[in-house]
Amino acid sequence: MGIRVTFMAGEGEDGPLVGRTGTLAQIQSDLRNAGPGGTSAVFVTGESGVGKSRLLRETVSSLRDAGFAVLSGTCLDIGDASPLHPVLQALRQFDHNVQPAGSAGALLDRVSQDLREVAGDRRLLLVLDDLQWADRSTRQLLLYLLAGLGDVKIAVLAAVRAEALQGTHPLRKVLAELRRLRSVRVVDLAPLDRDQTVELVTAITGGRVEPEDADRVYKRSGGNPFVAEELARDLRDGRVELSDTLREIFLSRVDELPPNAHSVVHAIAAGVEPIGHDVLARVVPLSEAELIEAVRAAVAHRFVISDTDGYRLRHRLVAEILVDEVLPAEATVLHRRYAEALSLDEPDHPRLALHWQKAGEPARALPSVVASARSAEELYGFTEAHRYWSSALELTTGDSPERTELLAHAAESAHQCGEHLRALSRLDDLSRRSDAPSQCDLHLRRARYLAAAGRTATAEAEYERALEAPDCSPRQRASAAAYLAELLLHLGRYADANARANDALEMAEVNGSTADLVRASAALGFSAAFREDPDAGLAVIRNAVDIAERSGHPDELGVAYLHLAELLTGPLNNIEEGVLVARRGAERLAKLGAGRTYQTRLLAIAAKGLFRVGQWSEADAVLETAMRHRPSGADAVELLLARCQLWVGFGDVEAAHRDLDAVATLLAGGGARHVLPMLTLRAGLAMWQGEHPTARASVQRGLTETRSDDLVLIGVLAWHGLRAEAEAHAAGQPVDPGALRRLKVAVERMAAGVGNAAAPVRAVMDGYLDLCAGELSRVEGRQDPAPWARAAAAWDKRGQPYPAAYSRLRQAEAALQRRTRKAAAIGALREAYATAIAMGARPFAAEIVAVAQRYKVALADDVPTVPFEIETTDELSLLTTREREVLSALAEGLTNREIGERLFISERTVGVHVGHIFDKLQVRTRVQASRVYLTAA
């Protein structure tokens, strides 16, 4: 650290605070009141000079007194700040230097961990000024933290310039997303009114003010406290203000500064704040004594403030006025001096890049720009990296040799940050270079970029061109074919995908990388499964898992396990085995200490599968493990949705609301895949609470956002919608005819679409169509048990107890009301109740009890007692509930087939369970396993 010069200003740093007492108290109480996720946030918006920073300072000092740990950072307006700048800067004040991490998600986790460490057992207040300049990574971090994913008890206080929020500023979007969280407040700071302005003026002048003077100050300042304060000072000092604009007011002040102070102020205005004393000393050519004298004068004239980390201008408004005043030649000299001064220390590349560019020295700026791009990439700030690569291109001319490499980087970083158009145009530039990469390479890249941009037809053509390119190596050809097969699969062209995947697999087996092999196998497997040859598909993907196991590469293992688990739990509806595979894959990757994203995704599949087969407590446990990976982005959304499904099922309203809020905040680009389940859950939750209008609104919104090919999603949604109308009808509330009509249209559309769907999809759809038919009969007041009996049978066949039990409840209800087949009805009701209790579905069980009471049916007699609990020892506690069931049957001496029959799972699945049991108990025979079990039990 260099010398720091502090001064006492002639008067207190801050003028009196007028007209903000209420706002201040409100902000503090909002920040203290954390929402259910343990987070809270206040965003203060308002024009420049309205007093945002002042409110921040006041709040910080009182919350610090109240025991908060405070971290402060300021966003920079240099356009090309480095990723996460304000937060990393804040952490450095506590000597935490965040290290690069293995992935963007891991980085968010690491930052959260540092924040937790700084906080200790205190609550943390993160203060961010000038948030409108925050880089994309910082904005994402805020969403992540405030959605509660970082597990940091954090309060965020940020100031945003209102001027910046016009137009398309990205922060608009972030604020709109954050607004959905209950614990977030956006405070719009208005200018002072006339009386408040007069109060401020009086406080500064320290006495009476002529009404016309006060009026003039109000009129000129428009109630802006910063300007009003300055004008009041003029009034007090007897200065006659002739100028009307803020600009003229300040320029006349600058003229009054002593010459050296004048230089200091201009130098600070040209720099990137805060400016350390040692840097300033190198930029302003004055002796030490002169410099200190000059800074003292600048502080005394209220232009500059001196803080622990360096000098700043008192207000950004002043900096903006001064920057326009400096002659271009003067500015060039100042920037050159800054660049030279900064080169002496450990290089701060973003600042160096800025100053060299402004000094008109592109060649000297280039290395710093490139270094900044690389370090942005290390922090997964692809947006920032892309901007650096682009400015690097601007610094070079067409004939410079490094341009080819720069273009390649610029294209790839644009692709990474989702600027697909930009990526494609950079690639075009690249292809025109004399030293461009090979034709095949260019086609492959273009195809990838096009596919990402959603232009699938053109992407397909590019892959074909890559395959035909004369300079295409066998390896590239295998890779192109595998990608193409994957693309065709996404387009639903299963026959084409199948043929292409076959070719790709052949090529990849000879010349391909493991990644290509896995990709081609997955495409082949899924296309086969969708073309009603599931066994062939399964065999291919199992083989891919074996290949990945041999290579041991985490990404390949992750992809292979993911495909297998998805195939099993999805089209093949072998959920039990799919769950096993997913868990095994996750464990495997955990042992390798890699593939965090894949682990999260695998566990999400496992949890969703467990939910469907009714093993809710197990699903809960899996989700808890998965959340410990602190997922971000789409992965986080998946997990939160899966967990929320459990909360809705368990009837934990508060937790469900918290997760739904978090999902709504994080949703971006997820499309129907995430939005529709969120809306469905919201509707389901509202129905348990008897809030039919809310349920109806959620479903109706969902109907506006569905595509005709989202069949399964529409199925669940339409069922929820019809159920909401049926429940409203049953509760004696009005049914919405418009909503009902639209739901019927959706069901018709769905029924029409089922014919074209692949067989596995058709099977699920039939189950939902049955449920919809049942609800319709309720809405129409026909008490018909028949559709419900059909639905129950359909869901039994799919091995999904929850919808099956729900259908039984309705079946029983209809029969009891009709007074027909009472015995069957009672049986169905008891069976539903047993399922509900076993799963822990409290609101559902309560509904069954209500129906039973209404028709005086006893549920208790035949309710099986709580499943046989095994006293757990350390050894058995490693086993899942299912594994314990298998082990207990095994100890009875049953064969795998017999166990399968008893537990309604395939023999093969029993085999997999047994393998796991052996692994976990570290035994090799069934006898040994039985012995462990019997000793423990």
């Binding site: 137009g167 398309t168 989702g418 158009l421 506006t704």
Partner: protein, 258 residues
């Protein structure tokens, strides 16, 4: 700040604008309530020019909602988001409106229309058109950029999103029969009397053309969206041009459109 810009319905207006609709059905609801509140703003009541626009906008948005329910769009999630973002900007402008000369955050193009709420009266068609002009020529490009940013996609010609976007032209054509052929010639004549930038910017068919201009402008904004200075320059430029057109529409000349 002038607190009484909405006169006797100030309270209702403030309350209504507290809401931030998040989906298309909610946007329709908000526009409906707005319509009934605007009908009570003296002195023109239901004859006020903003009412004319709001009614048209409500009709158009109901048309969008109907098509969403009917599954007419290729990418309904995109279109829903766009509709919400689009409406947000209109509500933002209303929130920022505090009277002529005291609304620094209200775009100039909206100020042109808002300041006529209190009279003098102008004909319904030009009034509605001035609103459409503000909303399409100024708000729409920004709404498009924000929507694409939200969905992580690019504004690409001939994409599903572009197709859906163009589909809305039909809804506009249905809702504004007055803008069809016969009137277009008059409109063209009016535009022809203006020289300079308006001329090459506004030619061919009114709404369809304008909406395409908005798409082009969105693509232009998309390219500079990370550059705050450039974005702001573009914003100011769009506001100026669109405001120029609105002033023309609301001038005595504009009534000749009816």
């Amino acid at each position: 700040m002038n607190q009484s810009v909405w006169g006797p319905v100030q309270r209702e207006m403030t309350d209504l604008l507290q809401g931030h609709p998040d989906d298309v059905p909610a946007v329709v609801e908000q526009l409906k309530e707005l319509q009934s509140i605007l009908g009570h703003v003296p002195p023109l009541l239901r004859e006020n020019p903003l009412c004319d626009f709001n009614q048209l906008y409500l009709t158009i948005t109901e048309g969008v909602l109907e098509r969403l329910y009917a599954g007419k769009f290729k990418d309904p999630a995109f279109l829903s988001r766009l509709d919400v973002e689009f409406a947000t900007r209109y509500f933002d402008a209303l929130r920022a409106w505090a009277g002529a000369g005291t609304s620094p955050r209200c775009p100039e193009v909206w100020v042109c229309l808002f300041q006529r709420i209190g009279g003098p009266d102008c004909r319904p068609l030009p009034s509605a058109c001035a609103g459409v002009n503000a909303h399409i020529n100024y708000d729409l490009p920004f709404a498009l950029v924000t929507t694409f940013d939200h969905l992580g996609r690019d504004p690409i010609d001939d994409s599903d999103q572009h197709h859906d976007y163009l589909e809305i032209n039909d809804i506009f054509a249905d809702a504004i029969p007055g803008l069809r052929r016969g009137y277009l010639e008059k409109w063209q004549l009016l535009i022809d009397t203006m020289n300079g930038c308006l001329d090459d910017w506004w030619q061919g068919e009114a709404v369809e053309y304008t909406r395409n201009v908005a798409w082009r402008n969105a693509q232009k904004l998309w390219g500079v969206r990370h550059d705050m200075l450039a974005t702001d320059r573009e914003r100011a430029g769009l506001d100026r041009t669109a405001a120029g057109l609105s002033k023309l529409l609301l001038s005595p000349l504009g009534s000749f459109l009816q």
